[in-house]
């Protein structure tokens, strides 16, 4: 029997409520499989070194760094504004929320105010981003289950409509580079708002269709229910945030906790999971799409007039006072934070991203131990990561 470093160690982290350590049954050899970095189910370039006893996972070691693009180091060498397009490329499914988190951090650092119309526009584009991200992530999850194409086609149908809105507003489908310190780059026209209202009116129909297609599916239920359980204690201790944490039944949504922007003016609920499994994560994303649509409807109704950039806002050549700031938002993946230290120069002295994808991924082994190897792919998909954000 092979014992080459892969036999499960005894759990040293007591009180973490980890799932029981899986011991090999002693028959046959452990099979060590390297899944990735080119693997159809990994969302990009990610590797899992898995040790298998038959079909069961005995040990799983994630290997990162295949997409490390030194985003943080580059940002320390260029001006504050220069980093804004780079934030688009962090989590490339939702660039607008990345812009938002970074703008928030710099606004905290410099004490910059944001006009009300800009706050509303931020909420609108942020929630549109959340809807398209959740739809795509569900599509990818089901694709990993083997339904190649169909659910993803439905998801991308809605996504393309939202991307059209982004393109009209910001000029780019994906890399929007829309927000600025003290507002937004361009104002939305009345036409754009009218088209957005129309798209948002159609979104509940899309979510209904998507839900009808998937929720009652027997194969989906059999594959996801009771699989990849993440206990709330572990989720909290590991710093998991976003839909993952809420699917584990912990009521924590930064939109409610911080009320950043104008979020405390909107009425919406925070869906919570009951069974902590992959199916809950799938359902939470569906329900969050509905809540996002509610926010969108309210924001589009109440959006005030006025400027979208603060008159005193400086974009170039400013030197913040020495100090530090941490801006965080509820991105579709979880808590996305930017931590900046200024030494009084034109560039940040230290620039750090708190990536929700990476931190949510740290519990992958705990969820996958003892499961079948085919379910690992599914559990991995339910975390909803983007490698650009994991490796940065």
């Amino acid at each position: 029997m092979s014992t080459s470093g892969f036999v499960a160690e005894k759990d040293k982290r007591e009180g973490w409520n980890r799932p029981p350590v899986i011991e090999p049954d002693g028959e046959g050899e452990l099979l060590e499989v390297s899944m990735g970095p080119h693997h159809p189910s990994t969302h990009g370039v990610f590797r899992m070194d898995v040790a298998l006893d038959g079909e069961r996972v005995i040990r799983l070691k994630p290997v990162f760094g295949y997409l490390h693009r030194n985003h943080e180091k580059i940002a320390e060498g260029i001006s504050y504004l220069g980093s804004m397009p780079f934030t688009d490329r962090l989590d490339y499914l939702c660039p607008l929320t990345n812009n938002w988190a970074y703008a928030l951090a710099v606004e905290k650092l410099t004490g910059q105010a944001v006009p009300e119309r800009a706050e509303y526009l931020r909420v609108i584009v942020g929630e549109l981003t959340r809807v398209q991200n959740h739809a795509s992530s569900i599509g990818f999850l089901i694709q990993e289950m083997g339904a190649s194409g169909t659910p993803l086609m439905y998801a991308f149908k809605a996504r393309e409509k939202i991307l059209d809105l982004f393109e009209e507003l910001t000029g780019a489908r994906m890399m929007c580079n829309y927000m600025r310190f003290g507002g937004c780059r361009v104002d939305a026209t009345a036409d754009w708002l009218a088209v957005t209202r129309k798209v948002v009116e159609e979104l509940p129909g899309f979510v209904d269709e998507f839900e009808r297609l998937l929720r009652g599916n027997e194969i989906l239920m059999a594959r996801t229910q009771g699989v990849g359980i993440l206990r709330p204690e572990l989720a909290v201790n590991a710093g998991v945030t976003g839909p993952m944490l809420r699917a584990s039944g912990v009521n924590y949504d930064i939109r409610k906790v911080d009320g950043y922007g104008v979020y405390n003016r909107f009425k919406f609920r925070v869906p919570l999971g009951d069974h902590w499994d992959v199916f809950d994560r799938f359902m939470i994303r569906l329900l969050e799409m509905r809540e996002s649509i509610k926010i969108l409807e309210q924001a589009l109704k109440d959006i005030p007039g006025g400027p979208v950039m603060d008159a005193k806002a400086k974009l170039r050549g400013f030197r913040p006072k020495p100090g530090e700031a941490y801006g965080r938002i509820e991105s579709p993946k979880g808590e996305l934070g930017f931590y900046l230290i200024s030494d009084g120069g034109p560039n940040p002295y230290r620039y750090r991203v708190r990536p929700p994808s990476l931190i949510n991924l740290t519990v992958l082994e705990d969820m996958a131990l003892g499961q079948n190897v085919a379910d690992v792919v599914l559990i991995f998909g339910s975390v909803d990561i983007i490698l650009g954000e994991v490796d940065r």
Binding site: H38, V45, Y66, L67, L152, F156
Partner: protein, 204 residues
């Protein structure tokens, strides 16, 4: 050996198809380019969008994304190639069967793009493997990827099976296996494949 166009049409009216092996072969190949299901970074999302209903890459016979390099004809380098990933990309390319083609999608795959100044980003995948079509953009729109496909189809259509300008895969002398770079002390070694890429000469 070209057939007279007028005669061809006249025979076609009588239900006789006259063609050459070369034309038939290239026609079949260009309409069934199967790409490898291989995403690297941001551009991969646009690549997926291209295959979806709206842009529908299936119109060009290229919707069958194969997870295995053995079954693929085309590698779309969709995104940033880091120095950690470059050996794997070259290895995957080596595993593909000839004839094989490469599309470098996006600024990162062409030159390193916005991340070029970083310490961990390869400054263009064409340093290690031959690239057939480059599409600029960050990321390129789906239309741009479709255009790259059409350019590739044009290229395949123009390939001769015999003669001195025949493609690499028909040349027994040509390089088939490309050396996989390894992580050296400071950088990837070798820094480029001289058979594929040389330092461009700047003419002023």
């Amino acid at each position: 050996m070209a057939v007279d166009e007028g005669l061809k049409i006249e025979l076609g009216k009588q239900g006789v198809l006259v063609t050459t092996i070369e034309e038939l072969y290239n026609w079949g190949r260009k309409n069934s380019v199967w790409p490898m299901q291989f995403g690297l970074a941001c551009c991969a999302i646009e690549m997926i969008a291209t295959t979806m209903a709206r842009y529908d890459l299936a119109r060009f016979g290229a919707e069958v994304f194969r997870p295995s390099p053995r079954q693929a004809d085309l590698m779309i380098i969709s995104g940033t190639v880091t120095k950690k990933m470059a050996p794997q990309v070259v290895r995957l390319y080596n595993q593909m069967a000839e004839p094989r083609y490469v599309i470098a999608m996006g600024a990162c795959a062409i030159s390193g793009g916005p991340f070029k100044e970083g310490y961990n980003v390869l400054k263009g995948i064409d340093r290690y493997i031959p690239v057939d079509v480059h599409i600029p953009g960050c990321p390129p729109r789906p239309e741009a990827l479709i255009q790259a496909f059409m350019l590739l189809q044009k290229k395949i259509d123009g390939q001769h099976l015999t003669g001195p300008d025949r493609p690499r895969f028909l040349d027994a002398e040509a390089q088939g296996e490309f050396p996989v770079p390894v992580q050296g002390e400071h950088d990837l070694e070798p820094a480029s494949n001289p058979g594929v890429w040389t330092v461009p000469v700047v003419i002023r």
